[in-house]
């Protein structure tokens, strides 16, 4: 079975999301298998989460800044 080539942008986004989730799960499973123990997985998972949160927050702030309508400053 071949995947259709011409798809809508929304379908392309869903397809990308599915691929990313699958890749993320594969990476996680590989890490769990390779790691010295589940404690190590949790420790580095937590560090990774701590690093990702500011990244998301920074993007959120940037997106809000773009959406917020600019006030017109009246020149005196």
């Amino acid at each position: 079975m071949r995947l259709p080539r011409n798809i809508s942008p929304a379908a392309a986004r869903r397809r990308a999301l599915l691929a990313d989730i699958a890749l993320g799960l594969l990476i996680a499973i590989a890490v769990i298998v390779i790691a010295a123990g589940i404690g190590v997985v949790g420790f580095f998972g937590l560090l990774c989460a701590v690093a990702l949160v500011p990244w998301y927050l920074a993007d959120l702030r940037r997106d809000r800044g773009r959406r917020r309508p600019r006030r017109q400053v009246r020149r005196m």
């Binding site: 999301l17 990476i27 499973i29 404690g39 997985v41 949790g42 580095f44």
Partner: protein, 375 residues
């Protein structure tokens, strides 16, 4: 979506899935530990699930950053230990053959009031107290550090190894519930911490005559024989259990052997997969004097070497290092029969004096009066 954001999404999925799987192990470990804070229980969980090198490295960094400075203002008094003798108690009634240890010659002069002087640990114990306690300043370069030492009369007491709820992790037929059994509390005079967890000490354990973890030659071992005798030896009986051994708990090489300090105290990889032997932390050790009496010592800001010197100063001729860090170091004496009025050896000891009267994660030692001995 940009490739960078897609990478982040992949990482987020991987991270969340890993954390969810780890949580399946972490949550029961933390909620199941009865007398540990979430932080300590989490560290223990990490240590026992492959993260021991990570924990040890972080501990080493932490203790290096918080290393104490030498010198400082001298102490004016020492913490009170033991109980003051009741008027007339024991006066003139000591058995002429009973041995009592000489007071410890202080390392720093002039000596402070009561420094190195043995005090009875229990009230109303008569002329032959089973446990004596003292404190003295442990290091002339650090005159503010105080070591607590206990001496235990082997003619009046017996030593027992008590498994904790989680340590040793090996299955035991008679694990108990990690506390001093209520039936034995009438004879209880003291309790103190065990050694490193078996996983980090790479050492052996014999419990009730059976090998629970393979014994290792050359490792310092607290041994109790079936006839009640206690000793600290450098193990040379191979991996099995000799017939006359009731329990044997190993931990690292001896720190004192035949009256001399281990020459490798200052360096070497043999001190376990834990904080560096030269790092100053809470440390504890168990020695034996030339008369066969056990001596326990503990203090904050000790290296393996300084701890060994404390025990040697107190009179130990052979000694083993026990557990380290403030979370695990405990010596508790009971001032009255029945486990009543428990008291930590040093006021800075972090764990509750009730520690071993409630279920504890780690294994420990209990000192009981011998059957027939009265309080």
């Amino acid at each position: 979506m940009s490739p960078l954001r897609r990478t982040r999404r992949v990482l987020t999925v991987a991270c969340l899935f890993s954390l969810a799987v780890a949580a399946l192990s972490w949550v029961p470990a933390v909620t199941g530990s009865r007398n540990l804070s979430v932080t300590v229980a989490s560290v223990e969980w990490l240590r026992s699930h492959g993260g021991n090198p990570i924990v040890s490295q972080i501990e080493n960094w932490y203790y290096s950053l918080n290393e104490p400075e030498k010198g400082g203002p001298p102490l004016k008094f020492l913490p009170q230990v033991g109980v003051a003798a009741a008027a007339g108690e024991g006066e003139g009634s000591a058995e002429p053959t009973a041995y009592t240890p000489p007071d410890v010659d202080p390392l720093i002069h002039p000596k402070l009031s009561g420094e190195g002087v043995w005090q009875k640990a229990g009230a109303g114990v008569g002329a032959r107290p089973p446990v004596l306690l003292t404190t003295f300043r442990s290091d002339p370069e650090y005159p503010q550090f105080v070591a607590g030492v206990a001496w235990i009369d082997h003619t009046r007491t017996e030593l027992e190894y008590v498994p904790g709820l989680a340590e040793p992790p090996e299955p035991l037929e008679e694990r108990g519930n990690g506390e001093v059994p209520s039936t034995l509390r009438r004879r209880l005079v003291a309790t103190f911490n065990g050694g490193f967890p078996l996983e980090t000490s790479n050492a052996g354990l014999i419990y009730r005559g059976k090998v629970k973890e393979t014994m290792v030659n050359g490792i310092a071992t607290v041994v109790r024989y079936r006839d009640g005798r206690v000793d600290i030896v450098k193990w040379d009986h191979g991996p099995g259990a000799p017939k006359d051994v009731w329990f044997a708990k190993q931990n690292l090489p001896p720190i004192i052997y035949e009256g001399r300090l281990n020459p490798n105290l200052g360096d070497g990889p043999e001190w376990g997969e834990t904080v560096n032997n030269a790092t100053r932390v809470w440390r504890s050790g168990l020695g034996i004097d030339a008369h066969g009496n056990l001596m326990y010592a503990a203090a904050n800001y000790q290296t393996v070497e300084s701890l060994a010197k404390v025990l040697q100063r107190a009179g130990a001729v052979r000694a083993i290092e026990l557990d380290i860090n403030e979370d695990w170091t405990s010596f508790i004496s009971y001032r009255h029969p029945g486990g009543l009025d428990p008291s930590n050896l040093l006021p800075e000891m972090y764990r509750s004096p009730e520690r071993y009267l409630t279920p504890d994660e780690r294994d420990f030692f209990a000192i009981y009066l011998k059957p027939g001995q009265s309080w």
